[in-house]
Symmetry: C2
Subunit: 452 residues, 2 copies
């Protein structure tokens, strides 16, 4: 909820636009405190300060503070919150506590919260607030302003955007408070409203909503259902949090793990192990194919142990270039810079990039072998052939890594999976197995008749 305009809870006596600096400091340290420290600090605050702090916390932290409170205490805290924040809190506390929390609310808020809970947490319906300013099209500007003066004293999310709704609950237009304020008093709302308005459907995903906010520079967007009825508004401050959350989810997936539901320090140890261990085990099983692949080349390794020396170097250069490419594309997709239909343009670009990067790295590898003082001793009389094998193998592996890394997010998206699951470790694992095959194939061509 947007606390940003005013003190619309009697309790929060000095409003959030003017906070005591010690309280700001405490709120900013909050994520790094232990549960014990939090409870202690919270209990030491005056009631008004505690309420102030409570309102500024995330639903996760609010749930934590409420976990041991008595029913009466819970009621007093829960009633501080706006309906959309109560809905978030319930989603955080789990469905078991749903009825308990709902029973603490007044009937009007209870209805609103229940309606919000019907939507998924991460779409427009789950993010929206139903407390917005409604005007009728035929009100005069003066009537609208007086009406607003009343509404501004109650719990509405924002008075700065006024939505013009007809008798059938259809959204007719919008007028900003600033426009209303500077219009001639005798005009009607209909005269000055903007009828052509950006609306978002209740089931729009939060990532797409964030993109619309970034393109539009708006403070709020109206949410409508399939029949064009206005259901609520989503405000920019809800979305700023969403952007952070989405980025965190993507980063954790790119790092090769399931996304955490809570901050690192707050995640229970065994949940942390489960979320990390799951992907690590899958990757480990995938990586076992490297041993299988190498089994096929055992004879070659026995004949030329020098080939084994370069295995980590070769496969890691594929893994690194693949991680780079996948991360780049995942982020570009999340920001809407690259779309499904761009896949072939990306393919062309990455084909060229792969060749350039491969020649660069292969060149470094070849140079090092050629310039190494003890090269004959280390690599035998066929050091030049070994060097050329490394050169071409690196080009092949880097090209392959770049192409798989850049195409995997497209494939995942096509399969309706999250492109961010093309994590750096996942790409590295895929490229390791195939990289070995490329390496030994190049070697068997280049070294036939000499070492092999």
């Amino acid at each position: 909820m947007d606390n940003s305009e005013n003190i619309h809870n009697d309790a929060s006596d000095d409003g959030t636009i003017a906070n005591d600096s010690a309280l700001v400091q405490l709120a900013s340290n909050w994520p790094s405190l232990t549960v014990g420290e939090r409870k202690e600090q919270f209990n030491a605050l005056s009631r008004t300060d505690a309420e102030e702090l409570f309102l500024s916390l995330s639903p996760h932290d609010q749930a934590e503070l409420l976990s041991e409170a008595s029913a009466l205490e819970k009621r007093s805290w829960v009633r501080l919150l706006a309906p959309d924040d109560v809905a978030d809190l319930i989603q955080e506390m789990g469905t078991d506590s749903k009825d308990e929390v709902l029973s603490l609310l007044d009937p009007q808020t209870k209805r609103e919260v229940s309606a919000l809970l019907a939507y998924a947490e991460d779409n427009a319906g789950g993010l929206m607030s139903s407390r917005f300013v409604r005007l009728r099209p035929d009100m005069t500007v003066d009537e609208a302003i007086s009406y607003l003066r009343i509404q501004s004293k109650t719990q509405v999310e924002t008075i700065y955007y006024c939505y013009v709704i007809d008798a059938n609950q259809h959204l007719q237009g919008v007028v900003s408070f600033r426009e209303l304020f500077s219009a001639s008093p005798g005009k009607t709302v209909k005269d000055i409203m903007h009828p052509d308005i950006v609306k978002i459907p209740v089931d729009l995903d939060q990532e797409q909503i964030a993109r619309i906010f970034q393109q539009q520079s708006l403070l709020a967007l109206p949410v409508v259902d399939g029949d064009g009825h206005m259901k609520g508004i989503v405000t920019l401050d809800d979305i700023a949090d969403t952007i952070q959350e989405e980025a965190t989810e993507d980063i954790q997936k790119i790092g090769g793990m399931e996304t955490l539901d809570a901050p690192y320090m707050k995640t229970p140890f065994f949940e942390l192990i489960r979320k990390r261990g799951g992907w690590l085990s899958i990757l480990f099983v995938g990586e076992m194919f490297t041993a299988t692949a190498m089994g096929y080349f055992q004879v070659e390794i026995e004949r030329a142990v020098v080939l084994a020396l370069f295995i980590p170097l070769i496969i890691s250069s594929g893994g690194n270039s693949g991680s780079q490419a996948s991360t780049l594309i995942i982020r570009a997709m999340a920001l809407g810079e690259v779309r499904m239909r761009d896949w072939w343009r990306v393919l062309g670009r990455e084909l060229l990039s792969g060749i350039c990067l491969g020649v660069l790295l292969g060149g470094i590898g070849l140079t090092r072998i050629l310039l190494w003082p003890a090269k004959e001793q280390l690599y035998g009389p066929h050091w030049l052939a070994v060097g050329m094998t490394i050169f071409f193998a690196v080009i092949g592996v880097v090209l392959w890594g770049t192409l798989s890394g850049s195409m995997l997010p497209f494939i995942l998206k096509k399969l309706r999976l999250d492109p961010a699951s093309a994590s750096a470790p996942m790409v590295a694992t895929i490229v390791d197995v195939t990289g070995l095959v490329i390496y030994f194939s190049v070697a068997s061509v280049m070294l036939k008749g000499s070492l092999l």
Copy 2:
């Protein structure tokens, strides 16, 4: 700049709160169009639509559209922009064009833009707008509202927060428009303002500003210099962009590359190669130490080629667990969930995690060797000893990967470098080299007298 309250450019005829849906569609497709398509689509728009679109674009895209315009055209487009947006545009176009762009502005805006250019792009001074509403403490509420009615028709960033400034330009307090609006007309501004206010210094980094916004649910924050003089305001919509940018930078670093200055598709090819090739080369040179390390174990490999088969599996399990740990800690640091002083708590947690994850993966590896039908044929008569070597080596390498991955961000931060540089590929490279040493050390202990 915040276009969200009103039409404060005469040009933008129907304001940004009410956009034509075709225009919204175009703005949302913009990042995926080619330069040619963009110019064509832009030229096909009516003047008002073109202006609307222009205002919604990023400074990078604005600069692109202006690149081939005549001086007169440029003037008409640049004058549409608010001072902070002009400053962003100049920073995007490079210092060469600074004087040219400044010469297009009216003297008042020119002064404001020059003042903004004195600050770094990514701190409060660079993000702020100097067009905010100023009230005097001794004005009555009625006077303040009339005064606002005038200011709301000019280019101020927001009329919703009014800053109370004394004769010495010191910030005395803040009052929200909503509060002013619902106060009794006879009171003075001083009576209803909040004197205790969150201020940000001009040199505060944008990442920290974003954190304050998330804790405070505010629409704008005042920026003050060292003497307490109010210099401007930073608005939430500027920060929403910043949050995305910071996340993109971190994600690209985690992927093991330099951050791009422009979207993937818009980055010139050779710049892309340079930004990716730089890190890849460094990692490649680092990874060469694997060949050196393996050189020391050449005798062991010759005696027991079976050891070589498991090299990719062993080192990748260290790399994967390290990537996970570093990504997790980098993100937790960026969100302020983990601070420098938490390093030992993280160390304890990761020590335990590393052991658990190591036993899990080592167990999978051991099981596979024990259950493999052709194990005697593949691994020789000492298959059990080989299995146990893998088991303990994986535990050691995963533990080491987890610890290095989680501690590296702390070390980088201590050295005043960006923790996000502890990229997945960088951690993997460090762990590869040391992982080999761990593997062969375990092998020489476990297999002494049997295979070695």
